[in-house]
Structure formats: structure tokens, C-alpha cells
């Protein structure tokens, strides 16, 4: 950058165009002005354009009845509900598929990541093949594959695959028996609560006893026993008040039971299988990041492989794993918006799709939808920064 000659400047104070503080203020003011002008033009154009199309701005449309049905809803919904309600329905469907997807992807991803590190050659290679195949194929293609190539070509309800005449799989979805809780079943839920409290108490007691006497206690097995045993006992005592509603073929489709629509299944499978491949790589890298010397030192102290993993390797690997793992969770939540492509009624499909088409309120709807995703992303990354700060290794 060529500078103009500034021999006339006094030594104590530079000429304003050479003063870095002045320059920086001027530069920032110009930048703000430019951005402000840019937004002014956009807003101006938008208002003119919307006026011309006869669209009233504002969020009043949210109170109008929607007039369209939605394939699947976790809350009560029909055509008479408002557009505001469609937002809620879509949001809940997004949350549902993201939540289920995160659980499946985590379980699968950790298993495959550990398998990838297995000393067994075949297991390790099979895991590698899974990872390399799944993560290098676009997610949308995988969703299409499960939906159009697998689920859509399943036989109709009359010829559906069934397992013990209780679980049915057809092109209408997966039907499973649903538990029906009759009166008196509150005892079972009560027992479950008691079991959870007991398990926490036992874990506390075991830790205290271990600290004072050194004796170890199989907390895990006992906890599982309590968690399963107490509700079962309550179930027997209260006279078995839970019946099971089996799906049954009535006319052209099944009635009763729980129905998982094929759109949800395809989306869930694709999201979990795809994300699991990335999680597996993260887990592998996290475990490899713990230096070999750490487990050697633990072995030299006489720790067996299992406690070495639990006490030394996993706590250190988790620090490496958790930040990228959360960003995978975020990706999964954002990718769930691909639901639109196969018609699973998530937030983007219902709200940014159908509602936008019907009302034309593009600005409001796009802003609301983006705000939802932004809120999720920003709150999780804030949480992550807090976690990282808390868990960072203390060093000089």
C-alpha cells in the first residue's frame, strides 16, 4: 500500500490518515455504513415486492387455520388447527427424529469405532469397510435408497413380513404391539421411580464403602437387577394391569399397536447409519489420541486391561471425543431437514414447505425456521465451550 508523504506531520501526533486508531475507526464506520445500506436496499425491495404480490407482512398468519393434514403428529392436530400449530408439529417431529437418530448413531458409532481398533483383523476390516462406504455416499442418496428402493417395494399389508404375528413390516410401515396401561398400573411407574432412587442410593453407598473399606461392589449388575426387578414385582403385585394391543389387519391396513411410518424409518436409518460412520472415526481417533505410554504405565502399576480402559484411557479419550461428537449431533439434527425429500413431516417440510407455499409469508417463515436451527446450534456450542473449558487439562 503506497503511503502519501507525511513529512509535515508533527512527531508527537501523526497525521490522521496515518494514525492507526483513526484509520481503524474510519474503516469500521465505512463497513457498518455499507452493511446498513445493503440491508436497507434489501428491506426496501422486499417490502415493495411483497406489497405488489399482496402479501401482508407480520406474524398474524400464524393464527389462521391451516386447512391441510399432516402425515404424523405427536400432538393433536387436524386441518382446523392453525399455522402456528403446524410449526409446533413440525418442530416436534424434527426433535423426535433427531433424538432417536442420536441414540442409534451413538450406539452404532461407538461399537464400530471400537471394532475398528480391534486386534482381530476381520472385525477391524469389516468396520473399516462400513466407515468408508457409508461416509462417502451422500446422505440424501442413502435416504432415497432406504425409502424408495427398500421400504416402498415391500409387500402390502396383506402380505407383510411378520414376526410371531406381533410385529409387521410392510410398505405401510412397521407395526409393533403397544402396551396399554390400565387402572392400577400407576404402581408400576411408582416402582420404577423407587428403583431409580434406590440405584442412585446404592451407587452412593458403594462408592462410600469403597472409599472407607476398599471393598468393591458390582454396582452395574445390582442396578440392572433393581431397575428391572422392582417394576416387574409391582407388575405382579398389582395384578398385571398392563395389556398389549397387537396390530391386526383390518381391511387394507393394520389397526392398533404402534405404527412407525416408512418415512420415519427411512430417515432414521439413513441418518443413524451415516452419522455412525463419522462417530466411529471420532471414537477411533479419540482412543488413539491417548498415548500408548498411558496404558503401559497403568499396566506397569498392575491394572488389568478393563480397569485400565475405565480409569485411564476412556476419561482421556472422552475429552478428545466429545467436542467433535457434539458437532456430529448438530449435523444430524440439521440433516434431519432432508426429511422434505421423502415427505417425513419435519419442521422444514411442514413449515418451510407446505405452510410457506400456502401463505407466501416467505420472510417470516424462513426467519422462524432458521431461528430454530440457530438457537439449537448456538446453545449447544455454548454448552460445548463451557464443557471444554471445564475439562481442559490443567497445564503450566
Amino acid at each position: 500500500m503506497a503511503e502519501p508523504g507525511n513529512t509535515s506531520a508533527t512527531p508527537s501526533k501523526p497525521a490522521p490518515w496515518n494514525d492507526p486508531a483513526v484509520r481503524s475507526v474510519v474503516f469500521q464506520v465505512v463497513a457498518v455504513a455499507a452493511v446498513a445500506y445493503f440491508f436497507y436496499v434489501i428491506f426496501d425491495n422486499t417490502f415493495t415486492n411483497m406489497e405488489k404480490r399482496g402479501i401482508t407482512t407480520g406474524f398474524a398468519f400464524l393464527d389462521n387455520p391451516s386447512g391441510f393434514g399432516i402425515l404424523m403428529s405427536l400432538v393433536e392436530y387436524d386441518e382446523s388447527h392453525t399455522y402456528g400449530r403446524t410449526f409446533l408439529v413440525g418442530l416436534l417431529n424434527t426433535v423426535l427424529v433427531s433424538f432417536l437418530g442420536i441414540i442409534v448413531a451413538t450406539a452404532l458409532g461407538f461399537t464400530i469405532g471400537v471394532a475398528r481398533l480391534s486386534s482381530n483383523w476381520i472385525i477391524s476390516k469389516l468396520a473399516a469397510v462400513y466407515i468408508e462406504v457409508l461416509r462417502n455416499i451422500p446422505l440424501l442418496l442413502q435416504i432415497f435408497f432406504w425409502y424408495f428402493a427398500v421400504l416402498q417395494v415391500l409387500p402390502g399389508p396383506r402380505n407383510s413380513f411378520s414376526w410371531n404375528e406381533a410385529v409387521f413390516l410392510s410398505n405401510r410401515g412397521l407395526f409393533t404391539p403397544a402396551p396399554v396401561f390400565e387402572s392400577g398400573s400407576s404402581l408400576i411407574f411408582g416402582a420404577l421411580v423407587v428403583a431409580v432412587v434406590t440405584v442412585i442410593a446404592v451407587a452412593n453407598w458403594a462408592r462410600k464403602r469403597q472409599e472407607t473399606t476398599g471393598q468393591q461392589f458390582h454396582t452395574v449388575y445390582v442396578s440392572i437387577g433393581i431397575l428391572l426387578g422392582l417394576p416387574f414385582l409391582a407388575f405382579l403385585v398389582s395384578g398385571m394391569p398392563v395389556s398389549i394391543d397387537y396390530p391386526a389387519l383390518k381391511g387394507f391396513n393394520f389397526r392398533g399397536g404402534i405404527r412407525i411410518i416408512p418415512e420415519l424409518m427411512a430417515l432414521l436409518w439413513a441418518l443413524s447409519f451415516y452419522t455412525a460412520a463419522f462417530i466411529a472415526e471420532i471414537v477411533r481417533a479419540g482412543i488413539l489420541a491417548v498415548e500408548h505410554g498411558q496404558s503401559e504405565a497403568a499396566h506397569a502399576l498392575g491394572l488389568r486391561p478393563a480397569p485400565t480402559l475405565k480409569l485411564v484411557v476412556i476419561p482421556q479419550a472422552l475429552r478428545v471425543i466429545i467436542p467433535p461428537l457434539t458437532s456430529q449431533y448438530l449435523n444430524l439434527a440439521k440433516n434431519s431437514s432432508l426429511a422434505t425429500a421423502i415427505g417425513y413431516p419435519d419442521l422444514v417440510a411442514v413449515f418451510m414447505g407446505t405452510t410457506l407455499n400456502q401463505t407466501g409469508q416467505a420472510v417470516e417463515i424462513v426467519a422462524m425456521t432458521m431461528a430454530v436451527y440457530l438457537t439449537i446450534s448456538l446453545s449447544i456450542s455454548t454448552l460445548m465451550n463451557w464443557y471444554n473449558k471445564r475439562k481442559a487439562l490443567v497445564e503450566r
Binding site: Q210, E211, G293, A297, L393, E395
Partner: protein
């Protein structure tokens, strides 16, 4: 498997050798890394192992607590033979402590937790008692005031002293040192060597891989020189330094002592 109380130092059985290695060979894949190793270490003996890098010193002492496995020959530690048997490996690792070149402290645990970890999970000791023992050894290595800090907050010399205390907490009968001072700045070497000398004077059986010849002269009962992945010669320190037998030894000594 007898559960000895960790804080009661049971007198070593003098009749059994601490370490006995017979005709031992080891390969990494096709690579012959240890050839025909024969070594006997009596209870309470202090052995220094030296030699040029790549001569197999570290591999040798890592075989003694089975961080490496050997393919041929026999290794007996406190009368127990090292095989694939997990129980025997457990037993031997309780008898043998080890200090590493890079300390290998657990960075996610405090100094005190580093020391009590094995006491609690291997010796199954109450936490209070384990902490008492750990503090005792931290005092002996002169850093009790650092107990609540994390390893990353300590200097190299302090970290290595924590590592020594961590091993001593398990009251081992044998201590292995794998170049304990070679990752340290010069001014920190002394503080670690002081601790090791003190340990030697207390009668601990020690095998040290080190280039600290001053340490070797002061405390070693025997010096072992390794080269080309074999034991070339062994002798008591005076003889070893003043009257080396083999040309390789002379060459090595001239290289490390001449400057």
C-alpha cells in the same frame, strides 16, 4: 495369590533370585531385537544397564514386567515364570514397579490420585488409607505440597519424582527405571537422581537403564553394557570403568566420558 498388606514391606526371600533370565530371545516381527540374554539379579542388587541407543536396553527391562513379550527362553521374576498366564502377569506386576523416560503420569488425575489409583483398584484399599500411603511417599520424594496439583502443572523433575512415588506406593520388591533422567533439563536431573540414590541405600532391588555414569559409580553393584542387541560385558563399576574388557565398551565409554 496372597494379599500382602501394601504398607508392610515383607522381607524379600533371599534364597530366590529377584530376576533370572535364561537364553532369552525376542523378535519384533522379523527383526531380532534381543539375542541370547542371560542375567541374574539377586535380592537387593543394583544394576545399571548402559549402551548406545538401539542396543535393546529398554526392550530388555520392559520384558521383565511383560510390557513386551519374549519368544524364546525363560524369564523368572521373584521365582514366578513369565508366560501368557494373566494371573502370573498380575502377580509379577505387583512386585515390579517401573519409571518411564516420559513419566507417563495420568494427566487427567491429580498427583495424589495418580498415586492412589493402583492402591484403590489393585490393592483394593480404602481411600483414606491409600491417601495416607501416597502422602507418605510424596513426602519422601519431597513434593507433598504438590499433591493437589495436576501433572501438567509440575516441572519435569517433579513429574518424574511423582512417577517414582506412584510406583513406590505399591511397595514393589523390584524397581525398573527406563532412562528416567534423559527427558529432563540438566538442573532437574540431580533432584531425581537424589531420590534414586536414597532408594538404593534403602536396599531396593533396582534395574536402571541410564547414561548417568556418576550414578552408576556411586550406587551400582554391577554395570551391564549392551550393544548390537546383546549383553557385551558386565562387571562391578570400578572394574567396568577403569578396565573395560571389550573394544565396544571402550569405544562407548570414550564417547560418553570424554566431553
Amino acid at each position: 495369590m496372597s494379599e500382602t498388606q501394601a504398607n508392610v514391606q515383607s522381607a524379600p526371600d533371599v534364597s530366590t533370585l529377584a530376576v533370572e533370565i535364561k537364553d532369552m530371545h525376542k523378535w519384533y516381527g522379523e527383526f531380532h531385537v534381543l539375542k541370547d540374554i542371560n542375567l541374574e539379579v539377586k535380592q537387593g542388587e543394583r544394576i545399571v544397564i548402559c549402551g548406545p541407543s538401539g542396543s535393546g536396553k529398554s526392550t530388555l527391562i520392559r520384558c521383565i514386567n511383560r510390557l513386551e513379550e519374549h519368544q524364546q527362553g525363560q524369564i523368572m521374576v521373584q521365582g514366578i515364570e513369565l508366560t501368557d498366564d494373566l494371573k502370573k502377569i498380575d502377580e509379577i506386576r505387583r512386585e515390579v514397579g517401573m519409571c518411564f523416560q516420559h513419566f507417563n503420569l495420568f494427566p487427567h488425575l491429580t498427583v495424589l490420585e495418580n498415586c492412589t489409583l493402583a492402591l484403590i483398584w489393585v490393592r483394593k484399599m480404602p481411600k483414606v488409607q491409600a491417601e495416607e500411603i501416597a502422602m507418605n511417599y510424596l513426602e519422601r520424594v519431597k513434593i507433598p505440597d504438590q499433591a493437589k496439583k495436576f501433572p501438567g502443572q509440575l516441572s519435569g523433575g517433579q513429574q518424574q519424582r511423582v512417577a517414582i512415588a506412584r510406583s513406590l506406593c505399591m511397595s514393589p520388591k523390584i524397581m525398573l527405571f527406563d532412562e528416567p533422567t534423559s527427558a529432563l533439563d540438566p538442573e532437574m536431573i540431580k533432584e531425581v537422581l537424589d531420590v534414586m540414590v536414597e532408594l538404593a541405600h534403602e536396599g531396593m532391588t533396582m534395574l536402571c537403564v541410564t547414561h548417568e555414569m556418576g550414578f552408576a559409580k556411586m550406587v551400582a553393584d554391577r554395570v551391564i553394557f549392551m550393544d548390537v542387541r546383546q549383553i557385551v560385558e558386565e562387571n562391578e563399576p570400578n572394574e567396568f570403568f577403569n578396565n573395560p574388557q571389550h573394544d565396544r565398551t571402550k569405544l562407548f565409554l570414550s564417547q560418553i566420558l570424554d566431553h
